[in-house]
Amino acid sequence: MTTLSTSGPLLDVRAISLRFGKSDTNLLQGVRYSVDAGETLCIVGESGCGKSVSSLAIMGLLPAGAVTIDEADVQFRGVPLDLHDTKAMRRFRGSDIAMIFQEPMSSLNPAFRIGNQIAEAVTAHNDVTEAEADARAIEMLRRVGIPAPEQRMREYPHQLSGGMRQRVMIAMALANDPALLIADEPTTALDVTIQAQILDLIRNLQRDSGMGTIMITHDLGVVAEIADKVAVMYAGIIVEAGPAERIFNDPQHPYTIGLMSSMPKMTGPSERLSTVPGTVPTIETMPKGCRFSTRCPFAQPICATPPSEQDFGQGHRVLCHFAPLNEKLERVQ
């Protein structure tokens, strides 16, 4: 429940690389990002790109034994996090770093009243009486906009709608005033009008508390709405990262461009969509070199070698041999 003022980022992921078991292809390869206090980083990508795995790794929630961590240089408030130290990670989880998931129904225990579940999160990390924890639960339910919290806290998850459940999840996550909130597709299961309410809620809570937020999503609309910074992931690699404005207005990586071209538009004429051909490679069929090369319309022989990172300033970095594409490629007449 303390906010340390430190210089430098709140969470600094300098490198995470990991593999499933003995597989020789990395599931995550050199993933690097940082979040400051009060800032929102969106990690965007399609299913299987590793966006959830990277945050589960930071939370120490990956099943031990199933994955081999090759490299994990992560600093939280300037202090290295040892992802192997399960005890220390347990202290962090739910107090300094909290997480909310996509499907609130499967994250809440159906057999306990929601008030008890929030209170449990409080007592797990603080030396408080039951009455104090209950009071905190009521306060949190009120903060996330649940009407009549005194009655509501006595209800079970099945008595709540999807939007209300997600509010309960948020109340639980924020009960210990975390410095960092990781939200994994928090609005994907919700309708658009409810999604708008939840995004507003997260934004307001963040403004009040100054916490850093990592939002994992596949929806570029959500990203445009709330992100300060964006990291685009593809097949376990961050292919492009930078300030949100640069990612949307000056995207460099062919995958980012393909993803944006694939989205049906809400304005202008409805032209045929430019797709990203093919499908995401599996861990067995992962190409050597650039991992996007099997789907990239610009792929050249050199793409069989790993591209090095190019820096476009203001933290805008791109992993592509041919960035900027409009200068390094030309049309064959």
């Binding site: 445009a224 071209s261 990203v276 050249q300 049309r331």
Partner: protein, 390 residues
Amino acid sequence: MTDSILDARDLTRDFMVGGSLFKAPKRLRAVDGVSLSVQAGETLAVVGESGCGKSTLARMLMRLDRPTSGEMLFERQQIDQIEGHALTALRRDMQFIFQDPFSSLNPRMSVGGLVGEPIETHMPELSAKERRAKVGTLLAQVGLRPEHADRYPHEFSGGQRQRIGIARALASGPKLIIGDEPVSALDVSVQAQVINLLADLRDELGLTLIIIAHDLAVIRHMSDRVAVMYLGRIVEEGETRQIFENPRHPYTMALLSAIPIPEYGRSRNTIALTGEMPSPMAPPKGCNFNTRCPFAREACHIDAPDLRDAGSGRGHRAACHFTEEIAQQASVTTNVASNPRSDGARDRFALYADAIAGRTRIRPQTTPTKHQEERPVERAATPSHKETLT
């Protein structure tokens, strides 16, 4: 009404919920007096949030479920109560695509079996060999390879499975295809492939499509006409352009303003809806939407408004007492932003679109430009790069 392929009049579907030995079950009205007319060759989208009754409506239109009351006509033949052979015959002309490509294909059947099954039912005169050939053609038509017929669903990705589902729907040579959220389980890049495929097939085969969906951007892209549902009723219908540019029902306005637009710095002009959709077991008196409507007044709590002309013609109708007034008050989010992308980014998007469409071949640049003088490119001169991949 001359060439309508499917007509629904006053469709209603009730479900009885709960109840026990001592308690009468309660009536849940999932669909409440919905009328639709689908013209041959058009794409009609039904949009709404979860629980609005759009899937129940879809199931009735597909005749997987029977309406409690109301009637349905397919090519002027009454279909709402048919069964047996008549229903099988209807299925030849009317097919479905389901949302979840993982649960809608029998995992124990090969792709050839799955796609061949409807052919066997509807064209029993074909020999096994002819059937196999037709399966091959269908698979090619949806962008798969004929040899995929020997594989099983688990060997395919979500997008490919949805293609199998589409091939299966096409097998009997239908005139009308109803898709219940046909692309919503797919990732963006794959979703775009399936959207393009459906558009191509519609144009090639002259299909009529009914798409049930919640994603407004997808609907805007795919459909000619849109019907917006809320709590079991159609609250607004019209041509896609009218609905998106000139919505006349406050719910449509709120729905449109709630969609996050993937453009940086675009301010949302939100018509915030408070609360959630009421339970269809206890719908509010008067207008269905009055519990969440920011414009609701006394009259809205007394009378339920009927769909009526929204003032912009061409079948644009809205179910709101005060549609004219509200349309003037609420300026909706159609503030057309100038494209904020940099010139370089616009070039890159054009290059990408051309490369994907096969309009041009791309090679590493050989003639130096002023940018390259500033930022030397060490790889561009390697001779091997001049080979291009298409």
